[in-house]
């Protein structure tokens, strides 16, 4: 039977921050509700300062809601045991610089109660997953931004959580590193792990998320399945290969015979600059 307990349930979350004396408190999150079912990849998007990170922190118990409730797999997120099932990668994380990659993962693993062979095996597995086996014994202080994000993702996964929360996982990472992180998110989805990510990089969210929420000035202004939100209902796209001018002319003529139907645009589809960059880099490597 499918699990019907939501992985994340945020109900009417409000978070006010005290400002200087006598001033009105700053409302960072205003009546936000989010429900994420197990196995979903949910993207929370919004401009800087819109309340994305505060929502995540409230979910992790790092800030207490002014009102409303947050729960992870049905457990109140202010309780410590709710964190047994969650892994978190904060924005721009810095880990202990004096530790190596392996030591970092061992430290977080031990905090989650792992030990002995299980811990060693898990560390090995994650280092391979995030492609850091060669840098495993190097001090974190010498890691690049992309490597830091990847070791951060590995520590978030150390206890095999059912939910992973990622705050701007590709912020400041180059396109290759960014692609690696996106691939990792897709791998997590394949494994049935619920992912809750927030970002202001829309293309990234579009590529990996099943559902998205748009938050602006602390309020959720739009939410739903990605396909539903971005598809234009009264338009249909057909992409043809090797279609000559004659065929195109025939299609245009055919369309004109139907009342109400019209061709909006024709032309060659374009790749993205990012895809072009990645293709060129990989060809150069070969």
């Amino acid at each position: 039977m499918a699990d019907t307990t939501p992985a994340v349930e945020i109900r009417n979350l409000v978070k006010d921050f005290k400002t200087s004396f006598r001033r009105k408190p700053l409302r960072a999150v205003d009546d936000v509700s989010i429900r994420i079912m197990p196995g979903e990849v949910y993207g929370l998007i919004g401009p800087n300062g819109s309340g994305k990170s505060t929502t995540m922190k409230a979910l992790l118990g790092l800030v207490a809601p002014t009102s409303g409730q947050c729960a992870i797999f049905g457990k109140d997120s202010l309780k410590v045991d709710s964190r047994n099932d969650v892994g978190f990668l904060p924005e721009n994380p810095y880990f202990y610089k004096h530790l190596s990659g392996t030591e970092t993962l061992r430290f977080y693993g031990k905090l989650c109660g792992l030990k002995g062979r299980a811990l060693t095996a898990r560390v090995e597995e994650l280092l391979t997953l995030v492609d850091l086996t060669e840098a495993r014994d190097r001090r974190i202080g010498g890691y690049s931004k992309g490597m830091l994000q990847r070791i951060g993702l590995a520590q978030a996964l150390i206890q095999e959580p059912r939910l992973v929360i990622l705050d701007e996982p590709t912020a400041g990472v180059d396109p290759v590193g960014s692609r690696q992180i996106r691939d990792l998110i897709l791998k997590l989805r394949e494994r049935g792990i619920t992912v809750f990510l927030c970002s202001h990089l829309l293309e990234q969210v579009q590529e990996v998320c099943d559902r998205v929420g748009i938050i602006f000035q602390g309020r959720m202004i739009r939410e739903g399945r990605l396909e539903d939100l971005i598809s234009i209902e009264d338009q249909t796209e057909i992409i043809l290969r090797n279609a000559g001018p004659v065929l195109l002319e025939q299609i245009t003529t055919l369309v004109k015979t139907y009342t109400g139907a019209s061709i909006v645009s024709t032309g060659k589809p374009r790749t993205t600059l990012e895809r072009l960059f990645l293709r060129e880099i990989s060809e150069e490597k070969r």
């Binding site: 922190k57 800030v63 964190r83 810095y94 202990y96 430290f107 905090l111 951060g152």
Partner: protein, 309 residues
């Protein structure tokens, strides 16, 4: 990733997590090259050997000042090291974790905030304990060598003066009291207890402070006030009508419960002078240190448990 992997139970005891955080804090501080200070201590302990203030008042005083000097210099260095380290290291650990956002990743794991605080404090205390143990070992070594030299010198002198054997043995015993002794070990332990109180105090301040500098300055201020607390209390109680009555007594009680009286640790100076430290005094100091360390740690937890990041 092995999708068929068995789910790993995410559990662990409080003691286990505290130990992991404590060990980590110890490693973190040790890798900050804190132990380089021990080299300075070594130089001081050895250099103190060469400063023999001649206060010749008879054969029984020959070389005694050198032994006192070694102890005095060694304890002085231990004192400075333990106080500075307990304040600075504790003041540094928490804000650094917040600034680097490593705290988020730790508290996002199933780690209660008390475990985190207790682990950090125990890590600092472990570092101080190990450092003091190493300094103590070096001091005892230097003192042992110098004491045997002093005894030899005294025995030679009194033998040539024709002292009877029983008096020579008594002199040997008296001089040995100025060398390594259990009281001296008790005094080193008292230095550790004092720094444990200071570290837990710095931990409390760092839970509500906004900067390392503020924590450091306030901790040093409270430490210095702690040396005059008992005198100030006595002066207040003997100041006439203001110091009488239930309110004055209650205020005095609250002050002594909240603010540690570091004059209690002046017993260390007596040990340096060659006096014995009664076991009861050491037990009392241990209980006092335990009380303040627990009080400050619980107060830190009270503030830290509601802190937002």
């Amino acid at each position: 990733m092995n999708s068929a992997a068995i789910r790993i139970p995410s559990k662990g005891s409080h003691a286990g997590r505290i130990q992991i955080i404590a060990t980590h804090a110890f490693t973190q501080l040790a890798r900050m090259k804190v132990f380089y200070f021990l080299a300075i201590f070594g130089v001081i302990a050895i250099a103190s050997n060469f400063f023999d203030l001649q206060q010749y008042q008879g054969p029984e005083t020959v070389g005694i000042s050198a032994l006192t000097q070694i102890k005095s210099w060694s304890f002085g260095t231990m004192h400075i090291f333990s106080v500075v380290l307990s304040i600075v290291a504790t003041a540094l650990l928490l804000p650094k974790d917040v600034e680097d956002r490593t705290l988020y990743t730790i508290l996002a794991k199933p780690v209660p905030r008390f475990d985190y605080l207790a682990g950090k404090l125990l890590g600092v205390m472990l570092l101080i304990f190990v450092s003091l143990a190493l300094m103590d070992a070096l001091m005892v070594l230097v003192l042992q060598v110098r004491t045997s030299m002093v005894v030899q010198e005294q025995v030679q002198m009194v033998t040539s003066m024709g002292w009877p054997q029983n008096e020579i043995d008594a002199l040997r015993r008296d001089t040995a009291l100025n060398g390594p002794s259990w009281s001296l070990q008790g005094a080193v332990f008292a230095v550790f207890l004092r720094s444990s109180i200071i570290a837990s105090l710095a931990l409390l301040i760092s839970t509500f402070s906004t900067s390392t500098l503020f924590t450091t300055i306030v901790s040093f201020m409270v430490y210095f006030i702690g040396h005059f607390q008992a005198d100030a209390r006595d002066a207040y109680l003997q100041s006439g009508p203001a110091g009488e009555g239930a309110t004055a007594r209650f205020t005095e009680l609250v002050v002594s419960l909240v603010l540690p009286d570091f004059q209690l640790f002046n017993v260390i100076d007596s040990v340096i002078e060659g006096q014995a430290m009664p076991w009861l005094v050491l037990v009392k100091l241990t209980l006092v240190a335990l009380y303040y360390a627990l009080f400050f740690t619980l107060a830190s937890w009270f503030i830290f448990s509601d802190k937002e990041f």
